[in-house]
Symmetry: C2
Subunit: 364 residues, 2 copies
């Protein structure tokens, strides 16, 4: 049996707690002889800064480069508000994305019928919602240079960020979106601000060009501000939304919040396929943050992290059946009325992080 090499980077806040529940799951799979994992663990974010003075040590990066997949918890917290910019917790995540070449970030926003009540939106707007935001993750304003603050002669400061996109960066993310739409409902909405941004103009052109190879997929273009609106007005109109790094950051958070259960949402960040092995680098992480306010209290919902592990099973380890198994177990646990506090409901049974993990394993 091949052994799957997984790097666990729990990070800060509730990261370690929710990662702990995945470790139980891995143990369960190993005990049953259903799959073999080789697990390594390392530090990222504030935890890495405290230990090494950087948000991701070279050692951890090298481990990530060598792993079949990285499972990432969350980073950040008030404790590190004043660390220097280049060492801030987020820098660890950004370095991973960049150095692993994880250009395609897939963020599903799925509303579980059992949880639709938790949404601020009326049930009919979100029940059955199932869209994916495909966010470009290694370009745009996150990484473009110049990115600096300079002091002017008059003593004022001047800050600059630069958004850059080249043809091939847009092309490859567009392909990911079209391929994904083919396996889904066959619809892509491409979002930019071509009415004010040149990167939006190029984005729009290149997506149209790539679309010629995917005539079976319906393509619409939607300005990013309108996309934010439409997500609130009628989210079920969308299947796949493809957009740049910064718009993807905002729009995926809005989309996630529509479901009413942030604690449920996994995500995958994928690199290019290696033509020799057919493999791609990958990092999986929950959409939620490090939630420092509830860290260490057993209140966190581990299901987004468990869902991220299921995505790793499916996309990185070719264990689709095992992924189905995990996702089915999660659905059953929810249907049985077992809830962490964030998704608590009248009549349901509110449990701790660890009880939730155990409940999923019982269901398996």
């Amino acid at each position: 049996m091949t052994s799957h090499h997984l790097l666990l980077l729990p990070g800060d806040g509730i990261g370690p707690e929710v990662a702990g529940e995945v470790e139980k799951l891995v143990q369960w799979f190993s005990n049953r002889g259903l799959a073999r994992f080789e697990i390594e663990k390392d530090l990222v974010g504030g935890a890495a800064y405290d230990e090494h003075g950087v948000a991701l040590a070279d050692d951890a990066l090298n481990r990530a480069l060598a792993a079949d997949a990285v499972l990432f918890g969350a980073v950040g917290g008030p404790k590190w508000n004043d660390v220097p910019y280049n060492q801030r917790p987020e820098a660890g995540l950004l370095r991973l994305r960049k150095d692993l070449g994880l250009f395609a970030n897939l963020r599903p926003a799925i509303c579980y019928p059992a949880l639709a009540e938790a949404s601020a939106l009326k049930r009919e707007y979100v029940d059955g919602l199932n869209l994916v935001i495909v966010r470009e993750l290694t370009g745009g304003v996150y990484f473009g240079e110049p990115k600096e603050i300079v002091t002017l002669e008059n003593g004022e400061k001047r800050a600059v960020d630069t958004q850059i996109y080249t043809t091939h960066e847009i092309e490859r993310i567009a392909r990911v979106a079209f391929e994904l739409a083919r396996q889904r409902r066959g619809k892509v909405a491409s979002s930019e601000k071509r009415n004010v941004m040149k990167t939006g103009v190029l984005w729009h052109q290149v997506v149209n060009e790539v679309h010629k190879d995917y005539q079976d997929v319906a393509l619409e273009h939607i300005l990013a501000d309108n996309c934010g609106m439409q997500l609130v007005r009628n989210p079920k109109q969308f299947d796949v939304i493809v957009t740049d790094n910064l718009f993807g950051d905002l729009l995926s958070d809005v989309a996630a919040m529509l479901t009413g259960s942030l604690g449920m949402l996994p995500s995958a960040s994928l690199g290019a396929e290696d033509p020799a092995t057919g493999k791609r680098r990958a990092l999986y992480e929950p959409v939620h943050g490090s939630a420092p306010d509830i860290a260490g209290q057993g209140l966190a919902n581990p299901l987004a992290m468990i869902g991220s592990f299921a995505m790793a099973l499916r996309y990185s380890f070719d264990l689709g059946q095992e992924a189905d198994l995990v996702e089915k177990a999660v659905a059953n646990v929810l249907a049985a009325g077992i809830r962490t506090k964030d998704i608590a409901a009248p009549g349901a049974n509110t449990v701790s992080t660890s009880d939730m993990g155990d409940a999923v394993i019982r269901e398996l």
Copy 2:
């Protein structure tokens, strides 16, 4: 009686229709001798392009510079999808903003109890919602240079946009937000992405600095992605949100959509106060766009445009009582169940653009 000098720029799509209803209102005020207006009209957007080959002719700009206030309809439509970038309809609006120095864009998101049902959000989340987004309007990625598309040696293209902010640009918009909060519920949320953008780092610093002069106002900092989330999760937590040009574009559209009645929302774009006269340049415009799909059919809701005129009465013409009168009339018309199609409700009376304008005048 002083005569107020108003430039009307109806623009494209439904712009001329909704502007027409404001003309009726102006007529009404003049007939009663309640106020004197000198109205000029000019072209902007696609309409200006068709006539002059540019989205705003110098002549129109000069009129705008000379006016006490500009009332702007909407621009754009599929007809002008293929005009050159610098002549696209939006360029007219951007030129007005820049050349009039309208750095402060105030976008209220108010949910009228009578219309709360129209929101995708549950009533309790939006009923009584009343927040203002203060968006920086003449800086950031909208205007920064370089802004270009170049062809590389390998034939690929490379597009660049540049986000720039200087201390004083942030300072003056922060002051607008704090002053406004003082007249409201005393709370400002400042939104940026300082975890990935240097402009966000500077924004955060400068807002903190300005806050020292407004210790009676509560300040919180919220990352822009989280702000998008919180707008969906619990919009009533906000009073004033201050943010940059691009984030303001997205967040204000999300906020507007929460109210369920885009056709109701006015906005004001203000310049700096002239120290000599105490006056500021100003442009008022509805938040909705040109809606080419319903243009010319008498379906458009003129209330956002009428509300924008009311804002002009209050902020540019010092006619606060008259503004109150108009706003009261609008509220009464709604309460009486008179609705355009976009805000139609069971049992209400659905009327045309022009009937709605007449209904407001009857109420006056």
